[in-house]
Each structure stands twice: as C-alpha cells, then as structure tokens.
C-alpha cells in the first residue's frame, strides 16, 4: 500500500500542487490528470524517488520511504516520460540490461517471447533506432511482462501507441490489478479498463 501525506511539489518558483493526500490499495489504479505543466510528471518522479518533494512524506507498506528505498525500488517498476532505450542496442539487449539493473536476470528467449506478445516478432534483433516511436514505446512497456513488481508507475504510457497496443496495455493493467497489483499512470488519452480507476486532478 502506498500512502501520500501532504505532498508539495515545487518547480522553480512555481508551486505545482499543495498538500496532496491520497493512498493506493492493492488492486487499485490511480489516474493522475491535469493540463500540460500541471505537475503530473513531477508527481510521478517524486513517487519514483528521482525528484525530492518540497514537503510531505510517502509511506510504502506502512513505513516511510526514506528508510527503505532499496526495497521500494525492487517492488516498483517505473516507465518514465522518455522511453529509456539505447538507440544502438537492439530491443532484447535493452530489456535484458534493464532487468539486470533491477536485479532480475532473464534469458534472451524469454525476452523474445515477451516481445512476440507485444507484436514485435521479427524485430528483436533490430537496433532500436530502426524502430518507430510506437514500437519503441512497446519495447519499453514489455518490461511490464518481464519484471514482476507490485506497483507500476507509468508516465504517459499511451504516447505514440496504436489502438491495438492501447487495448493490449489495458488488458495487461487489468490483469495486474486482478493479481492485487497497483498502478499509477498519467495519460491524455482514454485507456480502456475493466477495473475502475481513481482519479486525482492536479492544478484545479
């Protein structure tokens, strides 16, 4: 369970959000909405521990995050705004390195299998710079299948995805929620979900 108390987000001189309070229980999806520049990415980066909050605390499983960064990061999968892939490596190498950094070692054949599921069969050995934006996003989202984590933090996961891929992502998230997983995401598009998702609005 992730609990947020009195979180304050500041960027430069501007106060993005003030005393934000919410919690996410297992099996819940939280959708962060707001206009461009309202602080969605900043909030997600705070939850990922990349940006420090100006004030407020974040608790994970009942304890403050400051005492358990390592455990928290093992439980969380963060897909940032940028796809985070190396252009000169192929999709499989990229995914294997990311998994290794998260402490999971996976074989090439398992990565290929996962890439088939996201519709990238035959593109496993192409350098990432030869893929389209949408395909790059798909590669990055393949991590959802490869790295078991309780909480997914997804920043604009639908960017550049086509309808089939959006539907696929909706299914994967639904399944994750059914298995008592947690999801936090931002998106300007509609994500088709069977499960209900809570919404917080920033900047209002």
């Amino acid at each position: 369970m992730l609990e947020i108390f009195n979180l304050v987000g500041v960027r430069g001189e501007r106060r993005l959000f003030d005393s934000l309070d919410f919690q996410i229980m297992p099996g819940c999806c939280l959708s962060v909405e707001g206009e461009n520049g309202s602080g969605k990415t900043t909030l997600l980066r705070m939850l990922a521990g990349i940006t420090k909050p100006a004030a407020g605390t974040i608790h994970w499983k009942g304890h403050p995050l400051d005492q358990q960064w390592c455990e928290y990061r093992r439980d969380v999968l963060y897909c940032g705004h940028a796809v985070g892939l190396k252009d000169d490596l192929d999709a499989t190498e990229n995914l294997q390195i990311m998994a290794a950094l998260a402490g999971v070692s996976i074989t090439r054949s398992r990565v290929c299998e996962a890439l088939h599921k996201v519709g990238l069969a035959g593109r496993e050995s192409l350098p990432v710079h030869a893929l389209s934006q949408g395909q790059k996003r798909r590669v990055s989202l393949t991590r959802l299948l490869l790295q078991p984590s309780a909480l997914w933090i997804l920043d604009e996961p639908l960017t550049a995805l086509d309808r089939v891929a959006v539907e696929w992502l909706g299914n994967v998230i639904d399944q994750h929620l059914q298995n008592d997983g947690m999801v936090i995401l931002t998106s300007h598009q509609h994500l088709p979900l069977v499960s209900t998702s809570h919404i917080i609005r920033l900047g209002s």
Binding site: I50, A82, A100, G103, V104
Partner: protein, 228 residues
C-alpha cells in the same frame, strides 16, 4: 532470481557501455586521434632540437592525455541523460555509486588504457630512452584512472547545463594538476636517476583517494542534475 551483488552490477554496466562504444566506434576513436595529433604537432612547432624534445616529452604526453580525457568526458553521462536511460539507472535498486564505478571503469578501458598503450609509440618520436618509456607507461596506468574518476564528478556536475562541454574543461583541468605534476615528474625523476617510486606512490595514493570519493561525489552530482 535476484542477482543484485555489487560486483555483478558493475559488470553489467561496464559491459553495456563497452558494447555501446563498439557500436559507435567514431565516438571512441576521436579522443585517441586527438591525443596522437597533439603529440605529433609539438615537434613541428618547437623544432627538431634533440635535447629540448627529450626534455619536454613526458610533459607533452601527459598534457595530451589530460586533454584527450577531457574531450571524452561528455560521453560519460550525456547520452544516457538525453535518452532517459540515466533515469532508469538512478531508479535501479542497486546503489548508484556502484553503477558509476562500472561506467567509470568502462570509460577508462576506452580512453585511459588505449592512451597508455599508444604512448610509448609516440614518445619514441621524442627519443625517450627505454627505461623512461616504461616509467611513462606505468605512470599513465596509475594516473589515467584518476583522470576518469575526477572527470566523472565534473561530467555529473555539468549534466544538462548549456555549454557543458567547455564548462567541464574549466572545472576539471585544475583538478588534474596534481596528477600531471606527479605523472610527468615520475619520468623526469627516473631520467635523473633519483627513481620514480616516490612519484608513483603519490599517484597511487591519489588513485585510492579518488576511487573512494569520486563515486560518492558523482552520485550526489547526478541526483542534483536529475532533480529537474
């Protein structure tokens, strides 16, 4: 299947950077060419007087190594920052300082080590005796990792700053001064018959200090750079 031992992670990051360098050879080779050209230009400018060249050779090789190193520093974090992979590295449950050790080690293997191997060939142009060549190489083997380690701090500090490339040189070159003094000094000392061991020990001490403090300082610098 959790494999989060520090050694394994250093290896993963190192392997990744080496693989990337192999795919993008021009980036890796440019600093080496720069090194070769700088060394070759000096005799043309100073003139071919035998004794003068012999006297200035260690200094020239070391200064060229310093400059080549500065030239290669932007490779360390900049691309990772631009494509978002640095964010992923920071988010890894592993200690960031260990990942930095892996990156610095790869950086040394791609710049410091080739420079060291090239140096005797080009120092021959200056007619250095064989014993001095050996001392020069040993001093470079101990000294160039210090350059990569100190350079990592500067590269982290200037990450995402406009005109960072020049700023790196301004920050880092003064910090390289002790390495230059003891590195070039060791060859002079050996040639003068005093023995280079004291200079080399001091270089080794610098290496130990830098390998302890640099990963910590670079971690702090990167965290600040990624705040925004």
């Amino acid at each position: 299947m959790s494999t989060l031992s520090s050694r394994h992670l250093i290896y993963v990051v190192m392997q990744r950077d080496l693989k990337l360098a192999l795919r993008r050879k021009s980036d890796t080779i440019t600093p080496l060419f720069f090194f070769v050209i700088v060394i070759s230009l000096i005799p043309l400018g100073v003139g071919a007087e035998h004794e003068t060249l012999k006297h200035i050779a260690p200094g020239i090789v070391w200064v060229a190594a310093l400059l080549a190193n500065v030239l290669s520093l932007n490779r360390l974090f900049e691309q990772d920052h631009a494509d978002g992979t640095l964010e992923q590295l920071i988010f890894s449950p592993a200690p960031l300082s260990m990942l930095i050790v892996g990156k610095v080690a790869a950086h040394w293997l791609l710049t410091g080590l080739p420079l060291t191997l090239l140096s005797p060939v080009f120092a021959l142009q200056f007619d250095l005796p064989a014993s001095s060549l050996l001392t020069l190489m040993v001093s470079l083997v101990i000294g160039t990792p210090v350059l990569s380690l100190i350079g990592a701090i500067a590269a982290g500090l200037t990450l995402g700053v406009r005109g960072g490339g020049v700023l790196v040189a301004v920050i880092v070159l003064p910090l390289y001064v002790p390495v230059l003094i003891f590195g070039a000094g060791s060859v002079d000392a050996a040639a003068a018959g005093i023995g280079a061991s004291s200079h080399l020990s001091l270089l080794a001490a610098l290496f130990l200090l830098a390998s302890f403090f640099s990963p910590l300082a670079t971690t702090a610098a990167l965290r600040v750079a990624l705040e925004y």
